[in-house]
């Protein structure tokens, strides 16, 4: 079991409020990603759950029990650090076994569990090596091995893939997701990479300035962003925002349209007119950066190749069903 509940969790360092009251319900077995720009408090929130920092206020419940005064090791969670934080003087076997050894488990059982974990992560040939003799991806696997071998209530991941190169990151992303589903253990994963968030999560927590902006499934966040911040943060390329008269006609202060919901027409009628200033041809997609005069710079995404070049006149027609409306305070207006 690994159900985690946050109730009004606050954290301040002196006069600086890092977490300004977070309420969250994380269901057992789910994969939850904390995402947000740097300095939004996502890592602090994770460390509060881990017990590496003390809360200033509020309660953290694991399976219904308040753990704010429980030391990290007794919370039954395990953590994977950004820097891997492997013990440099121990072999891979020693690293994975350390937690079990501290728990006073019998040697035979430790060996059995370590070998099982190593087999799951394809680390068996490396068990007797030291961390410095391993590649980045292998070190990452050892760090994960150290986490899974203790059979925790939940895994905490602190930007675990950010030190890997792009190709390896995609591969590890799949491995982590598959492993989590296979084990069925609750996982909380911190990242600043919204692609990681969208692809891995069952549910995403978007944080900004120490506050939870929205909590929901990846598609909920994409389709129904609660406010301007979430709308701008989730989705790549970023959502286009238009203010002024056009927005007022829709009864909003700001309207937003995602690049993929702008229909591109050559010299077409209606919609927003503009001139292509940059065109990116990826083969699978074409990204157009269009100078649309009163609407400002707009980004449009076309699936497939579109033979347009800088200077070409286009018109962009927003899909009326996909226009997001926001009020004065930036909150989403729902019909």
């Amino acid at each position: 079991m690994g159900q985690i509940t946050l109730q009004g969790v606050q954290k301040s360092f002196g006069p600086v409020h890092i977490i300004k009251g977070a309420d969250l319900e994380i269901a057992d077995g789910s994969f939850v990603v904390f995402v947000g720009p740097s300095g939004c408090g996502k890592t602090t929130l994770l460390r509060l759950i881990a017990g590496l920092e003390d809360v200033t206020g509020g309660a953290i419940l694991i399976d219904g029990r308040n753990v704010v005064d429980v030391p990290p090791a007794k919370r039954g969670l395990s953590m994977v650090f950004q820097s891997y934080a492997l013990y440099p003087h121990m072999s891979v076997r020693g690293n994975i076994a350390f937690g079990l050894k501290m728990a006073g488990i019998a040697k035979d059982e430790i060996n059995r569990k370590v070998e099982a974990a190593a087999a799951t992560l394809n680390l068996t040939p490396y068990l007797e090596r030291k961390p410095r003799e391993l590649s980045g991806g292998q070190r990452q696997r050892v760090a994960i091995g150290r986490a899974i071998v203790r059979e925790p209530k939940a895994f905490l991941f602190d930007e675990p893939l950010s030190n890997l190169d792009a190709a390896l990151r995609v591969q590890m992303r799949l491995e982590v997701t598959r492993l989590q589903k296979q084990l069925g253990t609750t996982a909380i994963y911190v990242t600043h990479d919204q692609v990681e968030a969208m692809t891995m999560a069952d549910k995403i927590v978007v944080l900004n300035g120490g506050k939870i902006e929205q909590y929901g499934s990846p598609l909920e966040l994409y389709e129904k962003p609660a406010n301007l911040f979430v709308a701008g943060f989730i989705g790549s390329p970023k959502m286009n925002f238009v203010t002024g008269d056009l927005a007022k006609q829709q009864g909003a202060t700001t309207i937003g349209v995602r690049p993929e919901h702008l229909k591109v027409e050559r010299d077409g009628q209606g919609g927003w007119h503009g001139t292509v200033s940059v065109a990116e041809h990826l083969g699978s997609d074409t990204f157009l950066y269009v100078d649309a005069g009163p609407q400002g710079m707009l980004t449009a995404r076309y699936i497939g190749e579109l033979d347009l070049h800088p200077g070409d006149k286009v018109s962009l027609i927003p899909d009326p069903a996909r226009i997001h409306r926001f009020d004065d305070s930036g909150k989403s207006i729902r019909a």
Binding site: A50, L52, P71, P72, A73, K74, L77, S78, M79, F81, Q82, S83, A85, L86, Y87, P88, H89, F98, G99, M102, A103, R146, R150
Partner: protein, 276 residues
């Protein structure tokens, strides 16, 4: 072409390094050579470099006149004792400053170092009087005490810079893994800190071994270490170069051997943090 330049560059820099090394080593070599000469040959002009009458009589005289082993034992006890006590105090101090620093940590460290900026002679009279009234003059305990205090700031600084290099993540990982503070110290921190502890220990052993100001002023015979033993050869009867050289050679021999075998640790210790 580039290759030739590199080779020439290598030859020149190697030669230069040997030259500098030789210049630094020369006084020691000269001292060792002089210790095997007769008093007359020791200050003969022009000096003879290798072709003189080799003799070991200086060593015999030195051991007869003043008991080398007595002083050597004192040196070992005083240098070893003061270093060990300093380490015992400094490890927890440096540990706490490195891993739970407060706003004042930097100031405390600077204050500690500032005590080394004061010339020791400035406090010689008060310390001497205190030692006399509590009966610590010419005792090993007294010397261990004063050398320990003198080296403590350096020990704390060295250990502090060492501990600071240990990533905090690793200690947090150990905490998540269920290690108590004691086990964290034994299984994680100490093995990672061993090189740092070793070089700090060595350097301070050498500093304490060579310390001549306090040892000369606060001891006469009973607790006198090798520094006093050497000094006794520049005495009222005149300067006996050959015997002085023999005494000095004997005095530096143990620490020279120790330093020779641990030079890698020493260099690492001294440049730690500065060069990565």
């Amino acid at each position: 072409m580039a290759r030739m330049v590199t080779t020439r560059h290598k030859v020149i820099s190697t030669a230069a390094a040997w030259l500098v090394g030789f210049l630094i080593f020369f006084p020691i070599l000269w001292m060792v050579l002089a210790s095997f000469k007769t008093e007359l040959e020791a200050f003969a002009i022009p000096p003879s470099f290798l072709f003189f009458h080799w003799t070991t009589e200086n060593y015999v005289t030195v051991q007869e006149r003043s008991d080398y082993f007595h002083h050597a034992l004192n040196s070992i006890i005083i240098a070893g004792g003061s270093t060990l006590i300093a380490m015992l105090i400094a490890i927890p101090a440096a540990w706490s400053m490195a891993f739970s620093p407060t706003k004042r940590t930097k100031d405390v460290l600077l204050w500690m170092l500032s005590t080394k900026m004061m010339p020791p002679v400035g406090v010689l009279v008060p310390i001497y009087l205190i030692f006399r009234s509590v009966g610590l003059l010419d005792t090993r305990t007294g010397l261990i005490f004063i050398l320990c205090l003198g080296n403590l700031p350096i020990v704390v600084w060295m250990l502090f810079t060492y501990f600071k290099e240990i990533p905090k993540d690793i200690l947090e990982a150990a905490r998540m893994d269920g290690a108590t503070i004691g086990r964290e110290l034994i299984y994680v921190l100490t093995p990672m800190a061993v090189p740092g502890l070793a070089s700090t220990l060595l350097l301070n052993l050498i500093l304490a071994w060579n310390e001549a100001f306090w040892t000369l002023n606060l001891s006469t015979l009973e607790a006198a270490p090798l520094t006093v033993f050497i000094a006794s050869y520049s005495s009222p009867e005149g300067l006996f170069w050959a015997k002085l050289s023999a005494a000095s050679t004997l005095a530096i021999a143990p620490i020279l051997v120790l330093g020779w075998f641990s030079q890698r640790q020493l260099v690492r210790g001294l440049t730690f943090g500065a060069v990565k």
